[in-house]
């Protein structure tokens, strides 16, 4: 099947290319009619011919002439990370419904690669970008500003007036996690966190501290900082739990999925059990949380909302209707989820 162009359709339908262009770009009005300055009968004929011939618009040509690509780029650190792949999934969906195509890429947490990727997608005339910045990517992101490409930041923040932002309130996330445990009657609540202070983690720490102080439990505040490297991390968590067991610690906040995994591993190794020896509040989602009985309470980020809001915000920025460029979303505590069903979010 050889390519059929707008000219072929025009010739076959006995009209000008202009008319065909009008018809092909017309959107459906509410009444089911095309809203374009074309005679409905003509329009119908053109549509019929286009379909019969199998016409498909050449986006390269359209983009070249119109300067619009209806394409956005999404760059995360690792699309195989379930946090990001979930977000990407929803971004793709939302964008698809708006007639926007999405190009995805992973930066590998590498500012140089991010910089290259930005160059690449700029070459594709993307109209906007949604980026989860990595450490040291300030220079790369400056290009977005230089080229005047609307950009929305997700997951991590970065200075810059021009960026849109869709971020989760991590102070609140740490706060509700802690408050839940306090409500359960626990007082000796501790936390395990990483030494290297990513803002999302330090924010969760602050939320923990805030909740403890509000409850008059400031004397029990105890944040155990572990290495990022897996082997060392596992060992440190194990030691922490061993001591905590003697100390009479009642509960732990494990603010990332990986830290939670170390926690469960330590439990296993030390022969401890979850409701008996400690209580946990974990973060993100893992099969392990669902397998325990009762289900391990965990704080999840509103991934779909992050995705939808970022696409919408980016779209507004592209169309020049900039309202509020900084969107803050709340994390949710899941206490009654069960395998194969919707998680139930608790509010209190």
């Amino acid at each position: 099947m050889k390519k059929v162009t707008i000219r072929d359709v025009a010739k076959e339908a006995g009209v000008s290319v202009t008319l065909v262009s009008f018809v092909m770009n017309a959107k459906m009005g509410k009444d089911g009619r095309l809203d374009c300055p074309v005679n409905p009968n003509t329009a119908r004929r053109v549509l019929e011919v286009a379909k019969r011939l199998g016409y498909r618009r050449n986006n390269a040509a359209a983009s070249l002439r119109s300067g619009r690509s209806h394409t956005i780029a999404v760059i995360v650190s690792d699309i195989s990370n379930s946090f990001f792949s979930d977000i990407c999934r929803h971004i793709e969906n939302t964008a698809y419904n708006m007639g926007t195509t999405v190009i995805f890429a992973s930066s590998d947490e590498n500012p140089d690669k991010l910089s290259n990727l930005i160059d690449t997608v700029i070459g594709y005339n993307v109209e906007g970008m949604i980026i989860a910045p990595c450490l040291g990517s300030e220079a790369a992101l400056k290009k977005a500003v230089d080229y005047n490409i609307p950009t929305v930041l997700i997951d991590r923040d970065m200075p810059g007036e021009d960026f849109g932002r869709v971020l989760v309130d991590n102070v609140d996330a740490g706060f509700i996690a802690t408050k839940y445990l306090i409500h359960q009657g626990f007082g000796k609540i501790e936390m395990v966190s990483y030494k290297s202070g990513v803002t999302s983690l330090t924010d969760r720490e602050r939320g923990y501290e805030k909740a403890m102080e509000e409850a008059g439990l400031q004397d029990y505040i105890n944040i155990h900082k572990i290495e990022y490297e897996a082997v060392a991390a596992k060992k440190m968590v194990r030691e922490t739990f061993k001591d905590a067991s003697k100390r009479g610690t009642e509960a732990f906040i494990l603010p990332t999925k990986k830290i939670a995994l170390y926690g469960f591993n330590a439990l296993n190794v030390l022969g401890l059990n979850l409701p008996k020896d400690f209580s946990f509040v974990c973060f993100d989602e893992s099969d392990i949380y669902d397998l325990n009985k009762p289900v391990v309470p965990h704080v999840i980020q509103p991934l779909q909302e992050i995705a939808e809001k970022s696409v919408e915000l980016l779209n507004d920025m592209v169309e020049g209707e900039t309202k509020n460029k900084n969107i803050s979303l709340k994390a949710k505590l899941v206490v009654g989820g069960r395998l194969g069903s919707e998680p139930i979010a608790a509010t209190f």
Copy 2:
């Protein structure tokens, strides 16, 4: 910063646009020199000016003129499924290194959506597609053939002479899983599978049967078919385990991650323990496998290889160098993996 075109570079460098085009498209030879019919000094000057002006090729224009897009589409059923997101990650990586851009999309296992997506990406002049077909997508895929767009099938098969294929040998996967258990000294090995026969699952079943027969254990062959729906499935697995416990079953093959989850759930509910009451061989990857001690043996598909082979095959097809269009990959049994380290594949 306004757009700088090839003309601006040409004017600034005092050469023709042709030369600039040559230089910008030249690839580096082994000797570090550009292999194009341009005076090295001129080339250097052009390069310098292009960089200084911040020139970036307009891909829409290049694509329009040359008829090439250097873009492929990848359509899987759900990019947030870790199996696919891992593959996509590697596809993206491989393609990126070849200078190819990738557009990802999810079909939702919906043939109509798949059909729309194919239309959309055809409009983007993609040069090839990598597709995980869903049930009933024959008609949609026929368009790829009609439009003469090279297409590689992954994960699931579908009839069609023109398609390339990168599939995993699932009979072998079921076979090695079973054989491992037999080597461990077990005889009463059973399997849990879904009623609805996707080929990947029925193949694994056949592998199980084959291994059992070869070992003279045909009398113990027992495949429990469960519903796909989660609540019913969980219940059926629980019942199966309860009976099996009485019957003296020694081991189970759980041929998908989800079925494995149901298995662990049943274990929990019934108060059974893994090395004591049963042995498992599971499939795919899950945090749960790693948490158990010893680590639950599991069969994994070579995701990176699937990704790399499919990109390479597609590239060959696009370039017209079609060699072997049907690639079969072996799954691997992981018996000694531990959290945070490379899984160790056992061969025997």
